[in-house]
């Protein structure tokens, strides 16, 4: 079975999925206290509910983001440490937009040949957006445009050029009023969940990675500090200057 975690947005979830991606047990809280207070209790709950033991689990999978930095780190650090202390399971990471796109492909609103556009709140009125298409041959999805940061004010124009699309994720909920008329919102996909991550592993979603060297957060943005060095902030001189 696959033990999956997803913490890239304010939604926090853990899921136990069968090898084919079907959900055995899942906890989802779209909002609530910090991820650190919700994630492991969620893991414990799904294991208890399914009466599963660690020997039943072959893969520990986590959504890599992008999303909110602190949440991502809690999910990734938890998955990495669980796998390390287990010593036997396979550690997997899935780009969160790919997990969302797979869920969009299965949504009732999905229409053949219509691009799938996961939207994740990036805070500061920015959205992480990517474009996927249903892979007609394999029944999976493929990347059309990799993740990029779109300012909320430019979202309508950025999406409108794609024609008729299906959108989902917390960015679609948050900026619903800014979406162009060509964007159809998948109401059943308000946020990425662990079950979507588990399914993404089973369906070998694009960007799927394995092992501790690869399973690290996809931040989608440099830390603020990197902006300082570019700007040479006076409060934090990048290089030692002379006495002033």
């Amino acid at each position: 079975m696959i033990l999956a975690l997803e913490t890239a947005t304010t939604a926090c979830s853990a899921a136990l999925c069968a090898a084919d991606g079907s959900v055995v047990a899942e906890t989802v809280a779209l909002e609530g206290p910090a991820h650190t207070q919700r994630l492991l209790p969620g893991v414990h709950e799904v294991l208890e509910r399914a009466a599963a033991s660690w020997s039943d689990i072959g893969t520990i999978a986590v959504g890599l983001g992008p999303g909110a930095f602190t949440g991502l780190r809690i999910g990734v650090a938890t998955a990495r440490a669980l796998a390390q202390a287990d010593g036997r399971v396979r550690l997997a990471g899935v780009p969160t937009p790919a997990a969302l796109a797979l869920a969009l492909a299965r949504a009732p609103e999905a229409v053949a040949h219509r691009p799938l556009v996961p939207l994740i709140d990036g805070k500061r009125r920015e959205v992480f957006a990517a474009v996927y298409a249903v892979d007609e041959a394999g029944g999976g999805i493929r990347v059309v445009e990799h993740v990029t940061v779109v300012p909320a004010g430019e979202l309508a124009a950025w999406l409108a050029r794609l024609g008729d699309i299906l959108v989902g994720g917390d960015g679609a909920v948050l900026y619903r009023d800014l979406l162009p008329p060509t964007a159809r919102v998948a109401d059943g996909v308000p946020a990425p969940t662990a079950a979507m991550v588990g399914r993404a592993v089973a369906r070998e979603a694009p960007g799927l990675v394995f092992g501790a060297d690869a399973v690290l957060p996809l931040y989608g943005r440099a830390p603020d500090a990197a902006r300082w060095t570019g700007g040479g902030s006076a409060a934090h001189p990048a290089s030692p200057g002379g006495a002033r």
């Binding site: 780190r73 650090a77 202390a85 957060p217 300082w228 934090h236 002379g242 006495a243």
Partner: protein, 361 residues
């Protein structure tokens, strides 16, 4: 409020069972194996080089690095101590105070490891960790401990184990912050405190007389010193600063050290304690170690000076403190959160008037 209180329901762990300890409260990623009062291994992956380009610790950069490093550091600590997963008796981790995003990485990893191995978890207060470093020297309570680093400066009256009362604290900057800011003003490299210490050793501490009038109260204050240094440097031309940089550094360091030593000695006298200890990154400052040694000798006080490796942030000290703290039984700790500050680390001026600045295990 800040972890388990003394007498909280804890689970018994074998006294000779090894603890896996994790500490990520600031910019060092550290893991250790500690058995009773012995640090079997302590691995510290310093991020100094990474943060040097920014001239200070950048929380987001530190948190990212912890995420990449913590598992390797844990593996290294275990293999250095020759300890396997099945040998561990419990996992100990820093819960706070510190940089919240940085703390959360270590806490998430420690909780997950403890959960997967069905082990108890011991949340440790970072300040209590610093204090406990002194137990590696065979020191016995009660004693006065000067805890000084870039993030905190206080005098702790340690009554028993790691239970302590705050006898004095800083009203503004931490001592380590004063060193770092001074180093920046003097145009030294990063980490500033270390550079300033090295340079000061070659200078004449009588060259500038920095104000020492602040000595009236029990609490520390360093922001005035920093301002005095700024004005002193502004009053000199570049050639003069160039020629006397070591002398100015030595004078500045001596003023900080003087305050730390005087307040520590006064606290010991006021509390009627004959034992003095020192902890935190500033405890690695050679000027402070020397001045405090001399002062304690003059007054007949017993002084504990932990090795430098246990002064700066490290997981070994977390394990030494954990031995005095209750272990939370599996799986009661799964929702445990970190905390950025507590009553001991908030500056004195923001303390509510009625609150007693106490913190006990």
């Amino acid at each position: 409020m800040t972890g388990p209180m003394a007498g909280a329901p804890g689970v018994a762990i074998p006294p000779d069972g090894p603890l896996l300890c994790v500490e990520t409260s600031c910019d060092d990623t550290s893991a250790a194996i500690v058995r009773s009062r012995e640090v079997l291994s302590s691995i510290v992956s310093s991020q100094d080089e990474l943060h040097a380009q920014f001239g200070g610790v950048v929380p987001e950069v530190a948190s990212r690095r912890h995420t990449e490093l913590v598992n390797d550091v844990v593996a290294e600590a275990m293999s250095a101590a020759g300890v396997g997963w099945r040998d561990l008796a419990a996992v100990a981790t820093t819960q706070g105070p510190g940089l919240i995003g940085a703390l959360l990485v270590g806490l998430a990893a420690a909780k997950a490891i403890a959960y997967r191995r069905r082990l108890p978890l011991i949340p440790v207060n970072h300040i209590q960790g610093h204090i406990a470093a002194n137990y590696s020297l065979g020191l016995e309570a009660p004693f006065v401990c000067l805890v000084a680093s870039g993030g905190h400066t206080l005098l702790a009256v340690v009554e028993e184990g790691v239970a302590y009362r705050v006898a004095a604290r800083t009203m503004d900057d931490a001592a380590g912050e004063a060193f770092d800011k001074g180093a920046r003003l003097l145009g030294l490299g990063y980490p500033g405190g270390k550079e300033l210490d090295l340079l000061a050793a070659t200078g004449d501490a009588r060259y500038v007389s920095f104000p020492r009038a602040v000595l009236r109260g029990r609490d520390f204050s360093f922001s005035g010193l920093k301002t005095a240094l700024l004005y002193d440097l502004r009053g000199r031309d570049e050639a003069e600063v160039e020629a006397h940089r070591a002398d100015i550094a030595a004078s500045y360091q001596a003023a900080i050290v003087h305050q730390l030593v005087e307040k520590t000695a006064a606290c010991a006298a006021r509390e009627g304690l004959r034992r003095v200890a020192i902890a935190g990154g500033v405890a690695a400052n050679s000027g402070l170690r020397q001045a405090l040694t001399e002062r304690c000798e003059a007054e007949g006080l017993q002084l504990a000076l932990p090795p430098l490796s246990l002064c700066t942030d490290n997981a070994g000290m977390i394990g030494l403190a954990a031995g005095f703290l209750p272990a939370l039984p599996w799986p009661t700790y799964l929702d445990l959160d970190a905390f950025a500050s507590d009553s001991a680390t908030r500056p004195a001026k923001r303390r509510p008037p009625a609150a007693r600045p106490a913190h006990s295990a």
